[in-house]
Symmetry: C2
Subunit: 237 residues, 2 copies
Amino acid sequence: MSHDTMATLTRETISAAPDPIVRRTLHDELLERLRSMIIDGDLAPGDKVPEKELCERFGVSRTPLREALKVLANDGLVTLTPNRGAMIADLTLEDLEEAFPVMGALEALSGEMACANITDAEIEKIKKLHLEMVTHYEARELKLYFRTNQQIHEMILSAAGNQTLSALYRGLEGRIRQARYLANMSTSRWTQAVQEHEQIIASLEARNGAELAAILKSHLANKFETVKEALQDRGKP
Amino acid sequence: MSHDTMATLTRETISAAPDPIVRRTLHDELLERLRSMIIDGDLAPGDKVPEKELCERFGVSRTPLREALKVLANDGLVTLTPNRGAMIADLTLEDLEEAFPVMGALEALSGEMACANITDAEIEKIKKLHLEMVTHYEARELKLYFRTNQQIHEMILSAAGNQTLSALYRGLEGRIRQARYLANMSTSRWTQAVQEHEQIIASLEARNGAELAAILKSHLANKFETVKEALQDRGKP
DNA sequence: GACATGTATATTGAATTCATAATTCAATAT
DNA sequence: ATATTGAATTATGAATTCAATATACATGTC
C-alpha cells in the first residue's frame, strides 16, 4: 500500500532514509484515542458525547473531532443521529447474535491460517502467555486473565498473517467489548475456558488447522453464552 | 381517514406513522454517492481526488466532503496522505490475495445461513434471475451478466438474514471491484461459472447448507483466479 | 395539577476563513 | 541543455463563524 507510494517518491536515496518523519493528522490521532476509550470502557455505552466537552478535553476544534466521530459511527462504535449528536453505541442482543456467527467464521479461518503459517517461536510465545493466563486464573484475577487471554487470541490472529482478516475481526471484537466488562464468569465456565485453551495450544503445536478451527469456534460459542448472559442481566444486581 | 380515527390519534399512532420524514446529512449523502462512484468505476483507481473539484460537482463545501473521505479511507476505498490529499485506492495483488480467503469464509457462511433461512419465494426469485443471467451469457453480454450475477449473490446474502455479515462482505466486495471491469472472461471459464451457478441453485433448493457453502467457496476461488489475471495483465494489451 | 404552546438557550450541520505544507514554475547556476 | 534553488500558487488541515434544529424552560389553559 504505502509500499508503492514510497518507492515512487524518488529514486532510492530518500525513500531509503532511515527515519522518515511521521506526521499524523489530528483526525487520526483522535480516532485512535477515542476508539480505545470506547473499547476500554472509559466511555460507557449509551453515553451521550457532547462535542464541546470532548473538544475541551483534547484541546482541539470541532472539525477533526467530528471527522473522527463519523468514522467511528461507520465502524458501529458510535451512533449518530442528525441534529442530536453522538452517543456511544449500545450493544443489543440482536447485534450480539448477528456478530456471533460472523466472528465464528473469521475465528475458524484464523485458526486454519495460523496453523499453516505459525513459527515455532510464536508457539513458544503463546505457551508462555498461556502459563501466565493460568496463573491469573488460579488467582481469580479476572481482569488480568482477560488481558492475557486477549493477547493469546491476538497472537493467533497475527500468526495467521492476514491483515484484512485481522482488521475485520478486531472491528467486531470492538463492538462486543462492552459486555466484556459486565461478564462475571462462573467458576465452572472459567475452568472450561481454560481447558479449551489447553486444546488450542495442542492443536497449534500439532499444526492441525481443521481441529484448531473447530475448537476456536466452540470456544467462541461459550464466550458468547457468557457475554449474552451478562448483557441480559445488566442493570439488575 | 374517518372522524373516529382522527379523534383517537395519539402519540403512538403518530410515531408509528407509515412514512416518517427522513432527513439525511450531507455527509451521509455524499458518502453514499462517492462510494458508488468508486465501486462503479466512475472514479478510477489511482486517480487523485481534488477536493475543490468534487465540491463544485456536488455543490457542497469542503467540510462534509472531507468527512466522507475520511470514512471512505477507513473502509479502504480511498488512500489519504497527510497534506497531499486523497486518491482512489489502488488494489494490489497482495490486497487481493488477502481478501480472498476472508471472502471465502464469509461466502461459505452466507451459504449455510441462507439455506437455513431462505423462503420458497426467494428461491423462485433467484431462479428467475438465474435464467436471466443465462440469457446474458448466451448473448455474451458481459456487463449485463455481471450485474445479474451480482444480484444473485446479493439475494443469497440477504437471504442469510445477517446484517453484519452483509456489511462486511459488501465492504470487501467493494475493494475488489476495480479488477472486475478489467476481467475478460475466457469462454471456457464463463461456461464453468454458469455451471457452478446451476449447482448453487440446486443446493439452495435442497437447502443443503454444507454443500452450498462448498460450492460458493470454489466458485469464488475461480472468480479470484480471473480477477487476479486481469489485475496482472492490466496496462498490457 | 396536568398538559399544551411559545420562547430562550444550547447544540449541531455546514460554510467560511486562516495557517501551513506541497506543488508549480521561472530564474539561475552548473 | 539539465539540474537546482526560491518565489508564487495551490491544496490541505484545522479553527472559526453562521444558520438550522433540538432541548429546556416558562407561560398559559383546561
